[in-house]
Symmetry: C2
Subunit: 382 residues, 2 copies
């Protein structure tokens, strides 16, 4: 069982600040518009979309109509009826990490060479989203109805299958010497993602007092950390990095991914509905065994008992009484230390991520892009 | 609309016999135990299992427990409770074709080199079975409950996802120069298989008079022919074959695969329940739009109208009246020419397959294994 911090950490202060851990987390930037304000990350994400989207669109154009339709809808590039849509294909964090890792270790030439691999990683991410939504019966994704609710389970499953195949085909047809080891890593990562999704489903079906914090951490690393680590490792491969650097970048991504999941879980409980697009405490209403909740349940505090009693009954309704019950549940998680623990753990994971990054990319300027992206995902508020 | 033969073809006489097309279909064999009696094919299939199963078992051992359990169950190597089972992993036609194609064009050394690729093709086949059973809600496969009925939809979907990843990972980690083009072909084939499955689902949901024979043929080629063609092409790649030979072997497999599907559809209507393990006329009871049925429905004969009327109502019950209705339906398909057409078309496809084979492998002795396997699958009676 983890130790809890005794005071509430500043909500977004999970990233070591310059001055406190500057020797590990040194960065480039002019101070006024450094990575911490998110501008560098936003620019990287925007450039990633500009580079990767044409690859994705070309790949989709090679698909038979039925699967192309689902893929274009899922990426937000078409409405359900096939007419063009403004698009919300997600933040492109994973392909941005591929390109940033390639740049950090191999400069602009490596970044240019890694665009196809970045698209392949994004395809794998979206294949798992399509299938996870089917399994979890989730009805909304990126503020739109999920693909299975629009096209049915079979077409959503088939589109996911096809996106996985497309991703690995793109790497098989990429003549770059890194493409084959990248394909091997990406395929191994798919197996780990599946294991994470299995464990997630399994944990949700178990009684709250039958779940340990270690199990949830292992699940989160497999489900979220693995692909973020793989993205960084693939970028390193395209820069011609050696095994140790590739492993260190994988570690950087895994730890940053866990930090992201911890913050995401905090937002799932205390996030502002105006930012999250979900009702307040949606994860609590669904009785989700997220990291802060399991930390609280296993804290051995009186509030843990109170929380376990609340979680033993399903949540109903959307009236004032139901809202008050959610508020009480959130308070129990907080009094049991779940919120503080999650934020301290996220900060700890980010510190580890920064250490791994420094191993592979000792030059703070070169590491700036990767650090900016890691900070961006862990500092988001929606 | 296809022309129908006017007399019933001999049930299993879909393969050009020596003497009638011996100049194209010349084969090795001692006459007493040549390929036509199935002994050569049976020996090839047995040897394939002996070579490929250890690769498959080693691949499964690398899977996390939850997916390993589903995979071992699906292959018939474990019971649902995880205890060892005698096993019925299927006939291993596709990996046998990989090895036979490699042997035909490259001899025993190519066969030995292609074992891992043969296992990868078998994994892709089984990934699609796992997912198709979920989509089609099929409850039996190889005389056992399907994986989703035992482990639930999520674990069956995840196991399928993992088997696809495993297949492409095995090729990415195979140092043979054919591995990368084989991976590219196999990934492209997955997309075609998905398209075939989509069209199959789509055709089944449409009214019987809204389906053309061409559509069903295209669907059958994508769903069945594509992977059989890919298996042969992958074997050719491992023998170092050139583009033309690879394309010819792909064509051989596609045509043989269509012949197989035609015969399979005939068996689905007129097959002996003692051999098929399904009730007589199971495909008719399910109102399946199989190739002989659509040929009959689109024949413009009086029997076609009778068949359309029967197909307009769902089939119910298992009593004598229900059995009589199935018998009437089968007779209508036969009188409308569906059975004869399917058998003539299968013979035609096999003739085209043999032509393609002769293009790539002019030596009859070298082509013997591939021909024996093609004859085996199209002459089966269950």
């Amino acid at each position: 069982m983890a130790e809890f911090m005794t005071e509430t950490a500043e909500r977004s202060a999970v990233v070591p600040r310059p001055g406190t851990s500057g020797e590990r987390a040194g960065r480039s930037g002019d101070g006024a518009a450094g990575p911490l304000d998110g501008q560098e990350a936003a620019a990287l994400l925007e450039r990633t979309r500009a580079l990767v989207d044409p690859e994705l669109r070309a790949a989709f154009a090679s698909l038979p109509g039925s699967m192309r339709r689902v893929a274009l809808y899922h990426f937000g590039w078409q409405h359900a009826d096939g007419t063009p849509a403004a698009g919300n294909a997600g933040k492109a964090i994973r392909p941005a990490l591929v390109l940033a890792a390639a740049t950090a270790l191999g400069g602009p030439a490596a970044r240019a060479a890694a665009v196809r691999a970045a698209a392949a990683v994004e395809l794998v991410h979206n294949f798992t989203l399509l299938h996870d939504d089917v399994m979890d019966r989730d009805t909304a994704r990126r503020h739109r109805p999920t693909a299975w609710t629009v096209f049915g389970d079979p077409d959503a499953i088939l589109a996911g299958d096809a996106l996985q195949a497309l991703a690995l085909r793109m790497l098989a047809e990429d003549p770059h010497p890194a493409a084959v080891p990248a394909a091997s890593r990406l395929a191994a990562c798919v197996v780990e993602l599946c294991a994470g999704q299995h464990t997630d489903t399994d944990l949700e079906s178990r009684a709250p007092d039958d779940v340990t914090l270690d199990e949830v951490l292992v699940m989160a690393e497999a489900k979220t950390g693995a692909l973020i680590g793989c993205a960084c490792a693939v970028g390193a491969l395209y820069a011609g990095a050696g095994d140790e650097e590739v492993a260190a970048l994988d570690g950087f991504g895994r730890q940053a991914g866990l930090a992201f999941q911890l913050i995401d879980d905090v937002i799932g409980i205390w996030g502002d509905p105006r930012n999250t697009g979900k009702p307040a405490g949606a994860d609590l209403a669904a009785r989700k065994k997220s990291l802060p909740v399991v930390a609280a349940l296993t804290s051995g505090t009186p509030a843990a008992t109170e929380l376990a009693d609340l979680y033993a009954k399903p949540h109903h309704g959307q009236d004032a009484e139901a809202a008050a019950e959610i508020a009480r549940t959130a308070q129990a998680v907080e009094r049991a230390g779940g919120r503080d623990w999650a934020q301290a753990e996220a900060a700890d994971r980010m510190a580890r991520a920064v250490q791994e990054l420094a191993r592979a990319v000792p030059d703070p300027e070169a590491a700036g892009g990767l650090l900016a992206l890691a900070e961006f995902v862990t500092r988001r508020s929606s």
